[in-house]
Structures are given as structure tokens and as C-alpha cells.
């Protein structure tokens, strides 16, 4: 059993089998740096709980080879990422820091789907991005990339 401590002091006990999914933790364990409790300073308890939930689910399902189980897992993944934007980005940062490739792929793909098919203005609106182009600059960028605007 490995114990992780979030940035806000919450502790989580997880099996070794789950802990090695978090590559950062795995390396710490291998290097012998893992003490009784491993601090995870960048990640709050709320997000760490989600991350651990994901890893547990995938470790359990990893044993099933059937197509039906794999379809079920895809469905589970799709539900897992149905969260508000703030949480989604927190999970991305956590997955990046803890080096959990599958979770990072899943969450990045989710954001990519939010971007696909949208105009620049729509993207700005979805992610609250400020337009820092002057109208002239915008016109120039548009002209340079005319081929992309059919």
C-alpha cells in the first residue's frame, strides 16, 4: 500500500498496482525516495481523488480482453470526462505532473474535440480567451492563412 498526500492535506491509500500507473510516483518508488507518505504538492484532494479513480478503473479493466469490456471502458471514460472546464484542466495538469499517459491522452482528446469544428471566435468564447489582435493584424493573419478558410 502506498499513501499519497494531496496539496490540501488529504491522504489516499492505493495499491502498488495502481501507484505504478502514476509514472512520477513509480520512479520515486524505484529510486527509494518514497517515504511513508508521498506528497503530491500540485494536486488538490478533489482532483487527486478523480485521478486515482481513473487509475483504479483502468487497472481493474486491464485484465479483461473482451470487446464488450473494452466498449464498456470507453463508455466509462466518456462519462469520466463529463466535468466542468476547471476540473478538466486541473485533471490535465495533474495527469501531466504525475505522468499518466492514458489519462493525459483522454483529457487532451476531450479538449481537442471542444476545439474541432469551431471558428476562432467560438474558441475564444468557450475558453474565455482575450482577442489580442488589432483588426489590421487579424486581417493579415487571415490573409496569410487563406487556404485554411475555404
Amino acid at each position: 500500500m502506498i499513501t499519497l498526500r494531496s496539496s490540501d492535506g488529504e491522504t489516499f491509500d492505493i495499491d502498488e498496482a495502481v501507484a505504478v500507473e502514476l509514472q512520477t510516483i513509480k520512479h520515486m518508488m524505484e529510486d527509494g525516495c518514497a517515504g511513508s507518505q508521498i506528497p503530491v504538492p500540485n494536486v488538490t484532494g478533489k482532483i487527486l481523488a478523480k485521478v486515482i479513480e481513473y487509475c483504479k478503473k483502468h487497472v481493474e479493466s486491464g485484465k479483461a480482453e473482451e470487446q464488450a469490456a473494452s466498449d464498456d471502458l470507453k463508455g466509462w471514460d466518456a462519462d469520466f470526462v463529463k466535468v466542468d472546464q476547471a476540473t478538466l484542466f486541473d485533471i490535465i495538469l495533474a495527469a501531466n505532473y504525475l505522468d499518466i499517459k492514458a489519462l493525459l491522452d483522454l483529457t487532451c482528446q476531450t479538449v481537442a474535440e471542444m476545439i474541432k469544428g469551431k471558428t476562432p471566435e467560438e474558441i475564444r468564447r468557450i475558453f474565455c480567451i482575450k482577442n489580442d489582435f488589432t483588426p489590421e493584424e487579424e486581417e493579415e493573419v487571415r490573409r496569410e492563412n487563406q487556404w485554411a478558410f475555404e
Binding site: N96, F127, K130
Partner: protein, 524 residues
């Protein structure tokens, strides 16, 4: 709640990772989002550049678009801020880009830039209707980092001196390549680690010998029209697809292989012997797909086979088809009725889950009796899914003589899902009656390609089932309406489609837009 821009706070590598999952063209559009997003483009690990002429624009007005396209590729590759490039795909229409020496040098420079950045996957697709072909620089064949190479409609020259150095190449796909006969052969032989090889419409190839490729798992040879002989000796092969395509015979030699799981064969020149030997040489075959064959006698006997897909348009009514596949899960058949019907009685269908039958229009309907089709449903009753396309031409087939009714075995109730496709024929009412004599499916789907009139007749029959059917009391087996407890239209799409067909005044101009499903409840 204050709206914060969280996405811009992500580490740059993560944002780039997200954008690399978005098509290149859209990332180019997204440059307009903000200045920081504009700069990210040059950090992308992969690019796919394709440009389709907008239909609305006459070619003369597209020059601005074209030049921005060319500049985009140019700057993306030459100003690229990464040391390595994962993937580059270029779809270039040489009629638009130009095929003069300036354009060619430009394309050369792009490929050069990609090679310099140790590109791993290189995908070059050209289109040249009026323009001449693009000649691939030989440096491509010395790119040590390439794992996936795909070339379409270009030319290259490989001669005895050409030094081919592609140690990392795993996947090679050549399409519409014109080259010397031995060029492809030499290319393949120089890449011993290849796992996936596809040659499609490559004219000029006369002999193809695939041997010593111990890692080859997938091989597709499609319509290489000049092919005279093909030898395949690949011990690790799992997937083989061969479309012969030409009008002259080619010698086909395939060494037995225990790992082959999928075999797709479109070869009109294959002989009975060759076919038999082929099957016996692949003990672990799971999928067999055959098309375009002239065989008169087809015997498929295989313990492991799970999926069988037969398109036997040339197998006449007198042709012989024998199938002995105890583990068969899925059967798809497109061809004449008689060969299949004669197979049905001996077919081991204990594992059969799904069936897709398409009978082609032929003159052998006289032999297709009610009893035979009844047997068909008996055999298929384990199936979860039956797709049936009947081509019924004569009303003789539809009438069940009254004296026969008592001795008919009861209809098959276990059919879960029957898909029906009915072409233009007469006497839909009789056909429906006959169908429900034979089987009582739980879900009935009427395929999109069915005549709408059939659907209308069927729907009216369902709706009027409360009316007393005129069965004589002396008849022990009553007609199906007695047994139908309930009919439901399954889904809003089906409902809308039925409404559309029912209310249409003139059915001859209408086609069905989607499949229509009914849920049927039968009492036994």
C-alpha cells in the same frame, strides 16, 4: 463565477499536445484566436497539408489561396521550432501547385526539411491529371528515421546502384506508382523489418516476390495490372489481401502460414486445386472473403473459420458449394440462390450469430420452394441477426397449396432480428403471408433499399390484424395474424418514415430514406 482563461495557463507542451489532435487546417484557422496561439503552429509535431479547390471559386481566383497554402507549408517546415517531426502528410494537386521546375524544387525542399527533422511518418500524395509526375528525390530512400512511408502517384527510380537505407521502416504503402519492375522488389528486399506492406495499382510491377520478410504481418496487393507472378513466403503473416484485377492470369504462390487469420481474395483465375491447398495451408484462418472468382466447385472446409464472406456472382445455379465450418459465427453471401440453399441443410450453424444473405436476380426461382426456405430459417434460428435480401420474381413461389398447410412444420420463433430487403416484385401480400408462415421474428427491420410499396402493404397488414382473417375453422394451422399479439414501431425515425410513406400520394417516385423497424410480439 468569474470566467478565467484556464487553457492559456497550461504548459506549452500540453497545449501543443492538445492542438496536435486537431486537424492542421483547423489549427491554422485557430491562429486567429490569439497571438500566443498563432505562435504555437510552428511547434506542432505533425502536419497534414491538403488543399481542395473550393467549388465556388473558379480556378483563376484561387491563386491567392494557393500561394497562402504553399507559403504555409514552406514556413511550417522551414521555420519549424522542433528538432524532430513526427509526421508529415502532403496532399498536392500538381495541376494547381504547378509542375514546372520551380514547383518541383520547392517540393524537394519541403521533403528535405522534413528529412532533416528526422521525420518518422512521411505521407506524400500527389494528383496529376494534366501535369507531369513528381519524381521523388532519392534521399527519401536513405532516411534512417522513417517508420511509415506512403507514396501515391509519383515516380521514383531505383536501380542497382541506389543505396536503400531504411532500417526503421515498418509500414510501406505504394499507390498508383509507376516504376521499373524491379524497383519495388528491391525496395521491399532492402527493408527486412517491414510489418505492413501495401501495393495498390502499381503498374510496371511484373514479378513480386515477398520472402525473407520475417516480420511481415500484413500484406495487400491490389490491382497491379501488369503482375505476372506473385510469390508470398512470409511466416509471420496475419492478414493477406489480394485483388488480381487484370484480365490476364498471374501465377499465385503462397507458402502455408500458421499465423494467417484473415484472407481476402479477389482472383478470377484461381483454380479449385489452388483454392483447396490455400485453405489447408492456413490452419488458424478466422476470416475468409472471396470475390470475383470463376470457380464452379467451391469447397470450404475449415475447423477454425469464424467469418465467411462470399460474393459468388459467377457461380451458376448448377455450381457446387460446400461449406463445412463448425465454428462459423458470421456468414455473408451474395450470389445465386440454389448453391446456398443446397448447402443450408448440411451447414453446421450451432455457432452462427449473424447472417447476411443477398440473392441476385436469376432465373432459378422455380427451384426455390417454401420448404427450402423454411429449412433456411430453421438453420438460422440461433442467429442474433439475419439480413435477408430476397429477389422473388414469380408468384408461384409464394402460394402455399392449402393441402400442404397442415403438414408444414411450425414457424421458427427464435429469430431475434430479421432484416428484410425486398425489391420490386408482385404480390407483396402473399409474400408477407409466406414470410410469417416460416418465421416469427422479434424485431423486423425493413431495409432502406426496399420498395416503399412493400412497406405500405406490410404496415396496413399490421394495422388491420384485428380484422377477422378468413381462415376456415377446419384449418388447424391458422394464418399468422392470429398469432400476432402486438406490433410496435421501434423508434422515432421509423415512425417518421412510415408516416411519410403512408401519406405519400404517388409511391413510384419515392425511395425509402432510412431503415424502418417493428417490434413484434407473438403468441405461440
Amino acid at each position: 463565477m468569474e470566467e478565467i482563461n484556464r487553457i492559456s495557463q497550461l504548459p506549452q507542451e500540453v497545449l501543443i499536445r492538445i492542438l496536435s489532435l486537431v486537424p492542421t487546417k483547423e489549427v491554422a484557422r485557430a491562429k486567429l484566436v490569439s497571438k500566443s496561439w498563432q505562435n504555437l503552429f510552428e511547434f506542432l509535431p505533425s502536419f497534414t497539408f491538403e488543399f481542395l479547390l473550393p467549388r465556388s471559386l473558379p480556378p483563376e481566383d484561387s491563386t491567392d489561396d494557393m500561394s497562402s497554402f504553399i507559403n504555409a507549408i514552406d514556413s511550417a517546415l522551414k521555420l519549424h521550432k522542433r528538432f524532430t517531426l513526427d509526421r508529415l502528410q502532403l496532399n498536392l494537386d500538381l495541376d494547381l501547385i504547378g509542375s514546372g521546375s520551380r514547383s518541383r524544387l520547392l517540393i524537394d525542399s519541403w521533403i528535405d526539411a522534413a528529412l532533416e527533422r528526422k521525420v518518422k511518418q512521411l505521407d506524400l500524395r500527389f494528383q496529376c491529371h494534366n501535369a507531369g509526375y513528381y519524381f521523388l528525390p532519392f534521399e527519401v530512400f536513405g532516411a534512417r528515421t522513417i517508420t511509415d512511408l506512403r507514396l501515391e502517384e509519383c515516380r521514383f527510380e531505383i536501380c542497382g546502384d541506389t543505396n536503400i537505407d531504411l532500417p526503421a521502416l515498418r509500414k510501406l504503402c505504394l499507390r498508383r506508382i509507376r516504376c521499373e519492375d524491379q524497383a519495388i522488389q528491391k525496395l521491399i528486399s532492402s527493408c527486412p523489418l517491414i510489418q505492413d506492406l501495401k501495393t495498390s495499382s502499381c503498374s510496371g510491377v511484373q514479378r513480386l516476390h515477398v520472402s525473407e520478410l520475417v516480420n511481415l504481418q500484413r500484406l495487400s496487393v491490389i490491382c497491379c495490372y501488369a503482375l505476372e507472378s506473385i510469390e508470398i513466403d512470409a511466416p509471420s503473416l496475419q492478414y493477406l489481401e489480394y485483388h488480381h484485377g487484370s484480365l490476364q492470369c498471374a501465377l499465385l504462390l503462397i507458402t502455408p502460414c500458421e499465423f494467417l487469420r484473415e484472407l481476402i481474395l479477389y482472383d478470377r483465375f484461381i483454380t479449385e486445386d489452388l483454392f483447396q491447398n490455400l485453405l489447408s495451408g492456413f490452419p488458424n484462418l478466422e476470416l475468409l472473403k472471396i470475390n470475383d472468382t470463376r470457380l464452379r466447385w467451391i469447397e470450404i472446409s475449415h475447423r477454425q473459420l469464424k467469418r465467411l464472406d462470399l460474393t459468388l456472382t459467377n457461380l451458376e445455379a448448377e455450381g457446387i458449394l460446400k461449406i463445412d465450418t463448425p465454428n462459423l459465427r458470421s456468414l455473408r453471401y451474395y450470389g445465386c440462390r440454389t448453391p446456398l440453399i443446397s448447402v443450408i441443410s448440411s451447414l453446421n450453424t450451432s455457432s452462427l450469430q449473424e447472417v447476411d444473405i443477398n440473392f441476385i436476380n436469376s432465373d432459378d426461382y422455380g427451384h426455390f420452394s417454401i420448404l427450402q426456405s423454411k429449412e433456411f430459417f430453421e438453420m438460422m434460428k440461433h442467429c442474433q441477426d439475419i439480413k435477408l435480401n430476397l429477389h422473388i420474381k414469380s408468384k408461384q413461389e409464394l402460394i402455399i397449396p392449402k393441402r400442404r398447410r397442415p403438414i408444414l412444420s411450425p414457424p421458427v420463433y427464435d429469430i431475434k432480428h430479421l432484416h428484410l430487403l425486398v425489391y420490386n416484385c408482385c404480390r407483396y401480400q402473399l409474400m408477407i403471408d409466406r414470410m410469417f408462415w416460416m418465421c416469427r421474428p422479434q424485431i423486423l427491420s425493413i431495409s432502406r433499399e426496399t420498395e416503399p410499396r412493400f412497406l405500405k402493404v406490410l404496415y396496413n397488414k399490421f394495422r388491420n390484424k384485428e380484422e377477422r382473417p378468413k381462415c376456415r375453422i377446419s384449418c388447424t394451422t391458422k394464418c399468422w395474424q392470429h398469432y400476432l399479439e402486438d406490433v410496435r414501431i421501434d423508434g422515432d425515425e421509423s415512425r417518421a418514415e412510415i408516416d411519410r410513406i403512408i401519406t405519400a400520394t404517388e409511391l413510384s417516385n419515392i425511395v425509402m430514406k432510412c431503415e424502418v423497424r417493428f417490434k413484434l410480439k407473438w403468441r405461440s
